[in-house]
């Protein structure tokens, strides 16, 4: 979308009825973070606070969602770029307030967008322990150092909604396999340096 559509412009002006600037700020944040499917319930909550009809609340919430997502999508960072999304006759103070709120939140929103994009399962935690195997039912005495590693992996957040599934992968590594791992990781590190230097 190049600029706000007419319906959206009208809907945003409903914010003039907001009780405070903080209320506007909060609503902007909620509208950005909410996935399209959750906008309905959000509209209901917002509507009661603003004393507007259900339909007007839905239009407002939808307009704010689109506006904030659009800014993040396009990567707009300057006030001028955001201000020119609004038409000429848009309420000045409201326009400035919205621009200010968006600028305050833009980098947190960008991080949120990056964190919630589709991806393979993500590593969320790792724990490890070094043991020495001293004996077993087949070998009476030995001193084999071994490493136990537990990785906590979270499945794709986008698929799991609010209840992400975290699975634990427990793996044993010997000195040899640990060295193989380190070699591989070292190569990634080298690649990263090479890319960073370009």
């Amino acid at each position: 979308m190049a600029a706000l559509r007419d319906g959206e412009v009208a809907a945003l002006q409903i914010l003039l009825k907001a009780p405070s600037k903080d209320a506007v700020r909060q609503l902007c944040q909620e509208c950005f973070s909410s996935p399209p499917a959750a906008l309905g319930p959000l509209a209901q909550r917002a509507g009661s606070g603003l004393a507007v009809s259900a339909e007007e609340a839905e239009q407002l919430v939808s307009a704010l969602h689109n506006l904030t997502r659009h800014v993040v999508y396009r990567g707009l960072t300057r006030a001028e770029d955001i201000l020119c999304l609004f038409p000429e006759n848009f309420h000045q103070n409201l326009k400035n307030l919205l621009t200010k709120i968006i600028l305050e939140n833009i980098s947190a929103w960008r991080n949120e967008a990056q964190a919630s994009q589709i991806s393979l399962p993500r590593l969320v935690d790792m724990d490890w322990r070094v043991d020495i195997k001293t004996s077993s039912d087949s070998i009476v005495r030995m001193a084999v150092p071994t490493c136990l590693l537990q990785l906590k992996i979270q499945e794709d957040a986008a698929l799991c909604g609010n209840n992400p599934v975290v699975s634990a992968l427990t793996v044993e590594l010997s000195k040899e396999t640990l060295d193989t791992m380190l070699e591989g990781l070292g190569r990634i590190r080298d690649q990263l340096s090479a890319v960073a230097n370009k």
């Binding site: 999508y73 967008a113 793996v171």
Partner: protein
């Protein structure tokens, strides 16, 4: 699952037995069930990976028990007992053949590797990528590391687990491994 054995074509069954014996001999870290299953399915046979895994386990148990008791080929076939009549003839033939050729070589070795209670790390594959754009950010330029760990679970089945890390996470990951290696040295 034993009755699913008759679904597996002879050459694939032979390959499965080979892998099981090689795993018991510590020549390979595990049986690559997923890969074998895919090839069997591609050849037109409808078998699922769960059933193939169960069959691999049965064979592993059969061969390792036979090794521990030093069974000859004939004794092994006798152990199969009544199962011999339900197994397809080619399966019994393969078991007989594989055992005769390689069974004696299974050293029930006094080896620390026998004590597997958790998955054993086999291999790591990696990829360094940059996400250029997404539906939420047109210009993303977000670097990330993707890792696939190949793990042999305690029963000898090989599985892959893939996951992503951000660059700071990767740096921490690497640091932890260096720490683990240095502790392993000094212990």
């Amino acid at each position: 699952a034993a009755d699913k054995i008759h679904l597996i074509p002879q050459d694939f069954f032979a390959e499965l037995c080979e892998q099981v014996i090689q795993h018991l001999n510590h020549k390979i870290p595990g049986v690559n069930t997923a890969e074998l299953c895919q090839r069997i399915q591609t050849s037109g046979v409808e078998i699922n990976i769960g059933d193939l895994a169960k069959i691999a386990n049965i064979l592993s148990f059969l061969f390792s028990t036979a090794a521990r008791n030093n069974l000859s080929t004939e004794e092994l076939v006798t152990t199969l007992g009544s199962a011999v009549s339900t197994l397809p003839k080619h399966a019994v033939q393969v078991i007989r053949h594989v055992w005769t050729e390689q069974g004696k070589a299974i050293a029930v070795s006094e080896d620390a590797r026998n004590i597997a209670t958790v998955g054993q790390f086999v291999d790591m594959k990696w990829k360094l990528g940059v996400a250029m754009s997404s539906d939420t950010c047109r210009s993303l330029k977000y670097p990330y590391v993707t890792v696939t760990l190949t793990v042999a679970d305690p029963s000898g089945q090989i599985t892959d687990k893939s996951f992503e890390m951000t660059i700071p996470q990767f740096k921490n990951f690497f640091r932890q491994f260096k720490e683990m290696a240095s502790v392993l040295e000094t212990v």
